[in-house]
Symmetry: C2
Subunit: 532 residues, 2 copies
């Protein structure tokens, strides 16, 4: 999968001189995101665009091309993929729509497409998708024109739908949540969510994986992959009911499953499942915070009303509010002499307008052993307290990390200030106590441990050992023999049936006895490919 995200050169196929041409936007996105590889333009009518030549065919490109991005009418796609194969291109992203989601005719096109790709060992994403983004190297090939407003970060997205994928991108941008990789997979005729998930699990830039799916291609594999990683996997799965079935079929050729079965299976392997993007977003916001190790919250509030609303939300979500110890309250009273502070939990900061005092109260509250996490309800008028508030909200997160306990900051201010906060704060903020508490509840309830088998690479992937075997075969110019193949699997940490090499029938008989049970025999010889 790495080839889809880190190509040294990209051919955008379907570019024309017409200003309405959709494929031009792909090129614009590559420019906007400052792709660090080489871009080639291809279009049947040739010409020029963006100061570049438009080649009439990929075969005209004088250099090697790692990735083809295809946006041409569906009927031409199989032939163009054939040409790509001949050119030696082994990765393609096919954004064109009009395949199996449109019925029988499209289905046939898909078969021809698959055959062409198979002939050249080509892997492809799509068709009917908007492709990938790699924030690290600026590879951004969706055809909708984008602005590179995405911070770098550890969140990667796999979306079956291009439109919903864009939604998730917009969400990340507006909440200043950092992006690593993005892939829209459409009809997933070849590459599916599991292929990408496997890549993202191993990917060092990805720490959180978000998926939007309308159908699950291979449930067993999805579960095995989820079990193998500690990285949180958040899944927004739609197409749950009767009404969605038809439209999902025609959208990304997705078949719906029994939703209750899906939910139960996902829960088993620690995938967090969502029914709407905004609840998923709530969870995304609190995921990077320190863990919530218990159920006991402290609520600090500048507004009594929000404190009341928050206390109700805590009760609805099964949290308890710590009873602050008397010494703690007395200390606050003594040091800060704030008359209007209410010494309960929620702690109403009332008319106390001193941010340094807030700092000390936050620090002391986090230091209480009984406190597992905090909600800070901050209300301010930007005209008056802008600078002090922004600085305090930054420090709030520092306190949280120092204490190793999470804080959900809920801010109530005018919408202009709110959007500044969202763009500039290093951590996300909530706008209602309900959302803040719901997010902490998701964090509390989320359990995702590595289950059963450890991750392949943790079991000791012996790259050097594998390399040695493969180089030997290459040097001797012969295929990998059966015993070598089995050994490669073992070195990769993949369990295989017990096996021995016998040089003679007698030796075979001895081994068979040692192995016990039924034993299969296979011939090893460089002249004979393995066949049972």
């Amino acid at each position: 999968m790495r080839g889809f995200f880190e190509p040294n050169s990209v051919a955008v196929i379907g570019v024309s001189e017409s200003p309405d041409n959709l494929a031009r936007r792909i090129v614009q996105n590559l420019h906007e995101f400052e792709y660090d590889g080489i871009i080639y333009l291809v279009g049947a009518r040739g010409g020029r665009a963006f100061g570049r030549r438009i080649y009439k065919s990929v075969s005209d490109i004088p250099d090697q091309v790692d990735l083809a991005v295809v946006l041409i009418p569906a009927r031409y796609v199989p032939d163009v993929i054939e040409e790509c194969g001949q050119k030696g291109i082994r990765r393609a992203i096919i954004e064109t729509a009009g395949f199996s989601e449109l019925g029988k005719e499209g289905k046939e096109l898909e078969m021809r497409l698959s055959e062409a790709a198979a002939r050249y060992d080509m892997r492809f994403i799509g068709p009917n998708c908007i492709g990938v983004i790699n924030r690290a190297n600026g590879l951004a090939v969706p055809f909708p024109g984008l602005k590179n407003v995405f911070g770098r970060g550890g969140i990667s997205i796999i979306s079956q739908s291009g439109g919903v994928g864009l939604d998730y991108l917009n969400m990340l941008a507006s909440e200043n949540l950092g992006l690593a990789r993005f892939a829209s997979i459409g009809n997933k005729l070849d590459v599916d969510e599991c292929d990408l998930l496997e890549f993202l699990i191993a990917d060092e830039q990805t720490s959180i994986i978000c998926m939007y799916l309308e159908s699950i291609s291979d449930g067993r594999r999805l579960m095995r992959l989820a079990r193998s990683t500690r990285k949180p996997i958040l899944l927004h799965k739609s197409n749950t009911g009767k009404l969605a079935r038809d439209i999902a079929q025609s959208h990304t050729a997705a078949l719906s499953e029994d939703d209750a079965v899906v939910s139960a299976a996902l829960e088993q392997v620690g995938i967090a499942r969502f029914y709407a993007s905004n609840t998923l977003l709530n969870f995304l916001k609190v995921l990077p915070l320190p863990p919530l190790r218990g159920n006991r919250l402290a609520v600090l509030s500048r507004s009594g009303g929000h404190a009341v609303i928050c206390a109700d939300a805590c009760e609805r979500h099964g949290f308890s509010l710590v009873r602050f110890p008397r010494e703690f309250l007395e200390e606050i009273e003594k040091h800060f002499r704030a008359k209007v502070i209410r010494l309960t939990n929620p702690l109403d900061l009332g008319d106390l307008f001193d941010y340094d005092v807030y700092d000390r109260i936050v620090e002391r509250t986090f230091s209480l052993e009984d406190v597992d996490g905090m909600v800070f309800l901050h209300t301010y008028v930007s005209a008056v307290e802008r600078e002090a508030s922004r600085a305090f909200l930054k420090r709030l997160e520092e306190h949280s990390f120092k204490a190793g306990k999470p804080v959900a900051a809920c801010v109530s201010t005018d919408s202009e200030e709110m959007s500044v906060l969202r763009r500039t704060l290093p951590h996300p903020v909530f706008t209602t106590p309900e959302d803040a508490v719901a997010a902490l509840a998701l964090k509390r309830d989320y359990r995702h441990e590595v289950l059963e088998e450890p991750r392949v690479e943790q079991a000791g992937l012996d790259i050097d050992g594998i390399r040695e075997i493969l180089s030997r075969c290459e040097a001797e110019n012969r295929p990998v023999l059966l015993d070598e193949g089995l050994r490669v699997l073992e070195l990769a940490g993949i369990p295989v049936a017990r096996w021995r090499v016998a040089e003679s029938p007698d030796e075979a008989a001895v081994h068979a006895e040692e192995l016990g049970g039924q034993v299969a025999m296979k011939l090893i010889a460089s002249e004979v490919s393995h066949k049972t």
Copy 2:
């Protein structure tokens, strides 16, 4: 209550020369909102501010003052109210905190405050509040500094909490929902939510009433008022559980009620009850749209993924998706020749990028008899389609009103464009299909008819008749007699028991017979106050 919103002059009491002085912000707000009356400043230390003299006492003000806004330390409030009374001020807003919400001492202060006000027949809002805003005349007296970003409209707000009240104001501003009146009522020691509700029900500028309450002062009156009006009343009632009880008590001295009883009672009289501000906001957004007369929706979508999510949401909220008639689909297919359109409901507009065609499809869809309402899911990249999209979204609402059927527009675009849309569109937009469908479900399920007695003013409030009786009493310098009082009630549309005036015992006997049943007799004489 009108006196609180339409005073010809306001005295802001508690102003000093110090730049940190909170009461100065009240004056700034009056300037910012361009209050059309006269402003007087009052502060114990005198001086100057905003090019005005600060009077040391209200008694020093040479002119009549209609409304006093008080923000001074709690212990001085009763005496200042006494001075206001002597000055002839009959309305006060007391923003100072530190009364019964702080316990026994504050409770005593409240008693002294109430006594002082009662001596002068003064009505007051608060204490412990942020006062009122009247968008029409620019009266804006909250002490947090505000920007006048509020459009004029029919939404009025009553909030027990100042902070939550500000939240609601921010919500209206950011969604471009128009404001009529705002009142934060705090400890509601004198004026309570029912007093204001009664005013807003009769208020010609108010068409929708939103309330945030932590306690209900007079449940019977609230229900009676709700029954008397067709105006929608939306109530966000918090303080529902054990955890909130203490903090609500210390916040606005609110006692919590049995929440299930509250809910049942509210439902009975057609008050829409909410547990969080964002669901209330969803409802606010669809309230002004044409009514949803049935359960059958049409979903039009530019993004297949959003269509799938929306279909699921429709199912969860109990909507059915109209099966589009074949003629309709054929017509669309013939006229628009859109290859990638999916001819189902949701109707996937796919790669059809023609806004004029959207217009015609929307119009035709609304014209289908089976369609009760519409969800339009619009996805666009602002860099490319900004102008066309904004114009189309405006037309979408026009189509809705022309058809007399509601449309919930759900827009997915970058956050910058989104905030422009929110500020400039005449109607609100949603950001997720879930919210759009949930809002339509609220609209469908909301039933608020005038129950039992008709509204007082609809029954024909005869102001002139009442005035005539009262002027006669005043001219003759005597109290209102019993028969006059009963007549006043009748002229006000308030039902009274049947009554007659008898000049002699014989006449009384005749009347008693006519009236039938048990009859009570009362003495009418200007020397004797009415007593049974």
